[in-house]
Symmetry: C2
């Protein structure tokens, strides 16, 4: 097994706040060792679509990515957001390299098959979607890959893809090459024992604990699929998954960051 790799996902809330984003990027740049950043979209794409008079298409409450919306998210995620993050990481001394899935063919996806709903240009990631060979070349050459949530199908079609899924697929695939940790950064300090008390962070959750915490109603709603995906990543080879506050990332290498999920 090779060296340690940290795959870090940053969500839309931090991206939408220029000051918080700067704080986060400076802490990310200071992290030692091999690392990858995956960023979500933020509200800029929604605002741009509105400015352009493009209406959000919804079918049965689910967002649909038509050609116009694909162009918008490609511009914002892979262009404006990705390049500004890369330029700021360079400022902080990190040799960032912005990527969408088509660059170096790093992530290939398939257009989501139409069953009840046609989601449009949405990409689903498969088991062999991640090109570990290309990504390893970048990492070994000293670059810090920064992934936007756009993939391609290998046939010239770009696809809108969930950033959490990209982060987890990257971590799982690269765990065959590196001792890989997956770190989800969001606005809370971790998984909380009491949702109203931001200091009630549960330090460690084993997969057995997870079932117990679910049954007790301590973990609920949106946190359930997040943790289910995290434990799935662990079952597929990721060493640990961390969930914590983007602005506390400096505590990670001191072992004081958020909630750590472990297999058992």
């Amino acid at each position: 097994m090779g060296s340690v790799l940290n795959v870090i996902k940053i969500g839309g809330n931090v991206i939408d706040d220029e000051d918080q984003l700067q704080v986060f990027l400076e802490k990310f740049a200071a992290l030692q060792g091999k690392k990858i950043l995956v960023h979500g979209g933020g509200k800029i794409a929604t605002r741009l679509a509105a400015d352009m008079g493009i209406e959000a298409k919804m079918i049965d409450g689910r967002r649909v990515t038509d050609q116009q919306m694909l162009d918008v998210v490609t511009m914002v995620y892979a262009g404006l957001t990705n390049k500004n993050i890369v330029a700021n990481l360079q400022k902080f001394g990190s040799d960032a390299l912005g990527l969408c899935g088509a660059d170096g063919n790093v992530i290939k996806a398939i257009k989501r098959p139409v069953k009840d709903i046609d989601y449009g240009f949405v990409g689903d990631i498969l088991v062999d979607s991640v090109n570990t060979l290309s990504i390893k070349k970048f990492l070994e050459a000293g670059f810090v890959p920064v992934f936007s949530a756009i993939t391609h199908n290998g046939l010239g079609q770009l696809l809108n893809t969930n950033a959490d899924t990209i982060a987890s697929a990257l971590a799982v695939a690269l765990s065959k090459v590196y001792e890989t940790r997956l770190i989800y950064c969001f606005e809370k300090n971790g998984v909380l024992r009491d949702v109203t008390d931001d200091s009630s962070v549960i330090k460690t959750i084993k997969s057995d604990d997870f079932e117990r915490l679910k049954s007790a109603g301590i973990i609920y709603e949106g946190m359930i699929p997040k943790l289910e995906n995290a434990f799935l990543a662990i079952a597929r080879g990721v060493k640990n998954v961390y969930i914590g506050n983007a602005l506390n990332l400096h505590l990670y290498q001191q072992g004081e960051f958020g909630t750590c999920l472990v297999s058992k």
Copy 2:
């Protein structure tokens, strides 16, 4: 001296025509050996700015890049255009890697100093702007770098930069590492002896010929600065410069492409 490198610049006219772009990209993908693509902007950025209600700012007839316009060109050049070109090159079997100047710190520029006019966020390329070490890593690893016309200043600021200048700066800098040729693709078959006859291509122009052709009025207007820059690139180490029709790129490796500029 290492192997041969072809630096190819494609302009806005071909980018704006989806069919022509496909033809060009297939020919580019088929080119043997190490290569780099530099693409200009096309009219999409102007259209997007209009859709967003952003007025083009002009001072004394010169376009000014304010913050809003910088965001637009970053979205379009480094996002929409760059990623669609990369995805299509992947389709044609070329392992394209889309870059702006901030990615891997490949091209650093300085914000154009304010003299009579403040051009806003426009980047000027200096002698040591090109990071040949990073670009060499990509080329040696088998990637095909695809540059959009966005650079950065190393301090977190993206900058709008002329694509012709990027192509020539890349070719000059990389001529220290590779035997480098610079190929400007545009809509004409080359430098024409008779501007009304597209078959009157001048096959070869030496720097001495250039002065004579200028005096005779055969080379005039917009072609003069283009050729002056080309001869400057040759004087600075580029082996040859070619100017020809984007749709004839397949003739290049047969030695039948456009006009070839040589030092003497």
